[in-house]
């Protein structure tokens, strides 16, 4: 099932923070993890995740480092910072409240 871009875009930050909660990952791995954990429900333009990662790193939510790979290109790994963990917690809270409110309105429709 494909969701609208706008719907996915608003959740990209929280999704990235969520999958990184369990440890550091590189970009392609993050994309795969989101797809797997959503059971292929959340699939978006793979390229758009990289600007999001850069933005979150600029905001201090993530940190990154390069890891050399033998026989293939280096990988850039991202991990949560303490600020990122706080942002994730806040994001989860906000999402629950938001989805609850939306569900309530929709249930009345």
């Amino acid at each position: 099932m494909k969701f609208s871009k706008e719907l996915i875009k608003g959740s990209t930050k929280n999704l990235i923070l969520a999958v990184l909660k369990d440890g550091e990952m590189y970009g392609y791995q993050i994309i795969k993890s989101i797809a797997d954990q959503s059971q292929e429900a959340l699939q978006f333009g793979e390229g758009s995740i990289y600007p999001a990662l850069h933005e979150m790193e600029k905001l201090g939510l993530l940190s990154s480092h390069w890891v050399p790979q033998e026989g293939k290109p280096d990988r850039k790994y991202y991990k949560l910072t303490p600020e990122g963990s706080q942002a994730l917690a806040q994001g989860v809270k906000d999402w629950r409240e938001f989805s609850h409110a939306v569900n309530h309105v929709l249930s009345l429709a």
């Binding site: 333009g45 390229g47 758009s48 600007p51 290109p73 850039k76």
Partner: protein, 593 residues
């Protein structure tokens, strides 16, 4: 095997318009993504073509991704003082291009200026080449920016900064301030304020020239933008079609840089060598003055005084251009415009005498020859005045050194324009005489001429190169090339003369010349040598009145509401009295007996 997606990663990264380091980081990360994705698809058994298509399809719109990268990093925010609107990188790029353009324009000036100094007309193809050259340079600069994937706005900014740099350099080099202090400047020597305060004085002439310069620079920038779009696009398309490696792309970009620099240096070396080996005479005290624009300007007169390094003698070289660049006449001649009738005459000195000619369009019509008019002296001192005695009669006044003496020969010829016959009306050998000049004017509505025959004595002409536009349409190239010289006020050559009587057999002449910032009193002796006696700063445009004081050897000068007594021998100046402003007055003196 080379990574087929690496160019794709590079393309996205460069489209983000970020710094080189950031682009490299992005390309590195995206390259890793493409590798991982294609590796996974390869494991699924897909063909290379399918992998290519799937990777690109799943990635998303590259331009959109690049824009998102740009939005995230926002390079403008790095310099909060300058801000994103100005941009630091276009400034640096513009500075680099400005240096290259400056070298080019200096080289262009070096190759063109000798044409102005010589009597050789400039071939049309040379004019065209000189005019087109800067645009070719701009075109390839635009191409270079295109290969760098510089955005449109940044390209315009780059050219704008480059242009501002050129304008600034031109203003500094050709400003009146600079020229004044490079030449023998009486005003500077006397400590009078510099002429720089006049630079800000804008006239219609300056406005017109500025408009032409702006149009020229806009076309220059347009050539650069065309180069960016057309050539760079063709090159990149050609490269991507043949799937050339990234290294080749870098080689292309580097080659443009190196070729551009090498060509510029080579051109400069060639042009400098040409000028060093040129055998034209040394030009003394040359300066291109202001262009006097009228409503219609078809003629450009270049008047220069050359000194032969071999003999030390002065050679007069004049050229009269039509606005199309065609040389109408060259040699030793003067152009006289009789304002009353609007007709233009030429007096040309040749070995067989003085030719009186009429200038009509591109044609020089011979009116008559005055074989006994005599030849000019070795110092070029002669004068000729033309005025209408009547609608069919022309008065030609010749003043030249009398052969075999230190006196001057005044010859007054009356020319009948219906028969082209001349009659020597009178001839006198005398000293410098009084302050006199020829003039003619309408007397009344019946077109009667009121004519006063006077003698004038402009013994020496200003030793300067004068670019004088008489009237008519414009020669764009000459106007463009003369533009740098027109941004300052010219030195007006109007003068008043007064003899200093009572000082001996050979009377000295005093004249006051009006310059853009003041007046100057100069003494000229019978040998034609001049020296500055006094100079002063004034904003008054009218020349001061000057009269000799009887036989005292002194002068009285009324200038800008002051009456001064000047002793040229001792250079003493004494203010006699203040004069009322706005009042007209005349000066005269007499000896009471």
């Amino acid at each position: 095997m080379a990574d087929p997606f690496h160019p794709f990663a590079l393309e996205i990264a460069s489209a983000s318009l970020l710094s080189r380091h950031e682009q490299q980081e992005i390309a590195r990360e995206l390259g890793s993504h493409f590798y991982e994705k294609s590796y996974e698809l390869r494991l699924q058994g897909k063909s290379e073509d399918e992998i290519q298509a799937d990777v690109r399809a799943s990635f998303g719109d590259p331009q959109h991704i690049a824009a998102e990268f740009h939005q995230v990093h926002r390079p403008g925010e790095r310099l909060p003082i300058i801000g994103p609107l100005v941009g630091f990188r276009p400034f640096v790029r513009g500075f680099k291009l400005g240096v290259i353009n400056l070298i080019f324009f200096v080289a262009l000036y070096l190759v063109y200026l000798p044409f102005l100094r010589s009597t050789t007309p400039i071939p049309i193809w040379t004019q065209a080449l000189l005019l087109i050259c800067p645009f070719v340079v701009a075109f390839f600069e635009g191409c270079y920016l295109g290969l760098q994937r510089i955005g449109w706005l940044d390209t315009v900014k780059t050219f704008a900064y480059s242009t501002l740099m050129l304008l600034g350099a031109a203003l500094i080099v050709f400003s009146e301030f600079f020229v004044t202090y490079m030449e023998r400047s009486p005003s500077a020597a006397s400590g009078a304020p510099s002429l720089i305060e006049q630079v800000g004085k804008v006239t219609a002439l300056d406005g017109y020239m500025a408009l032409i310069a702006i149009i020229y620079l806009i076309v220059f920038m347009a050539a650069g933008l065309i180069g960016r779009r057309v050539w760079a696009r063709l090159v990149m398309q050609s490269l991507s079609t043949r799937k050339v490696e990234q290294a080749t792309i870098l080689v292309w970009k580097s080659s443009f840089k190196l070729i551009g620099i090498a060509l510029g240096l080579l051109l400069l070396i060639i042009l400098v060598r040409i000028n060093l080996t040129r055998s034209s005479p040394v030009v003394a005290n040359t300066r291109l003055a202001n262009i006097a624009w009228g409503s219609q300007v078809p003629y450009i007169m270049i008047d220069q005084r050359l000194i032969s390094p071999q003999t030390g003698s002065q050679v007069l070289g004049y050229r009269l251009y039509r606005a199309t660049g065609q040389v109408v006449k060259q040699g030793d001649f003067e152009v006289h415009r009789v304002e009353v009738t609007g007709k233009t005459y030429i007096t040309a000195w040749e070995k067989n005498g003085m030719h009186l000619q009429q200038l009509e369009g591109d044609q020089v019509k011979e009116l008559l020859l005055l074989p006994n008019a005599g030849q000019i002296g070795g110092d070029g001192s002669h004068a000729v005045m033309i005025g209408y005695a009547s609608p069919t009669q022309l008065d030609v006044t010749l003043i030249e050194p009398a052969p075999g003496s230190d006196l001057y020969l005044y010859s007054w010829y009356r020319v009948d324009l219906t028969t082209n016959q001349s009659v020597l009306h009178s001839q006198v050998t005398k000293t410098s005489g009084g302050r006199e000049g020829t003039s003619s004017a309408f007397n009344d509505s019946q077109n009667h001429f009121s004519y006063t025959m006077q003698w004038d004595m402009p013994l020496q002409q200003s030793p300067s190169v004068r670019l004088e536009l008489l009237h008519g349409s414009n020669n764009l190239m000459l106007a463009m090339l003369a533009f740098p010289f027109s941004i300052y006020q010219t030195w007006e050559s109007s003068a008043r003369y007064a003899p200093i009587t009572g000082t001996g057999v050979y009377a000295n002449l005093m004249l006051i010349e009006g310059y853009a910032n003041g007046h100057e009193l100069r003494r000229t002796d019978a040998n034609g040598r001049t020296e500055t006696v006094l100079s002063w700063h004034t904003t008054a445009e009218e020349l001061p009145l000057v009269e000799s004081i009887a036989d005292s050897g002194k002068l009285m000068i009324a200038d800008h509401n002051q009456l001064m007594i000047v002793d040229p021998a001792t250079r003493q100046v004494a203010k006699l009295t203040d004069l009322p402003t706005g009042a007209g007055y005349e000066l005269s003196s007499f000896i009471a007996k």
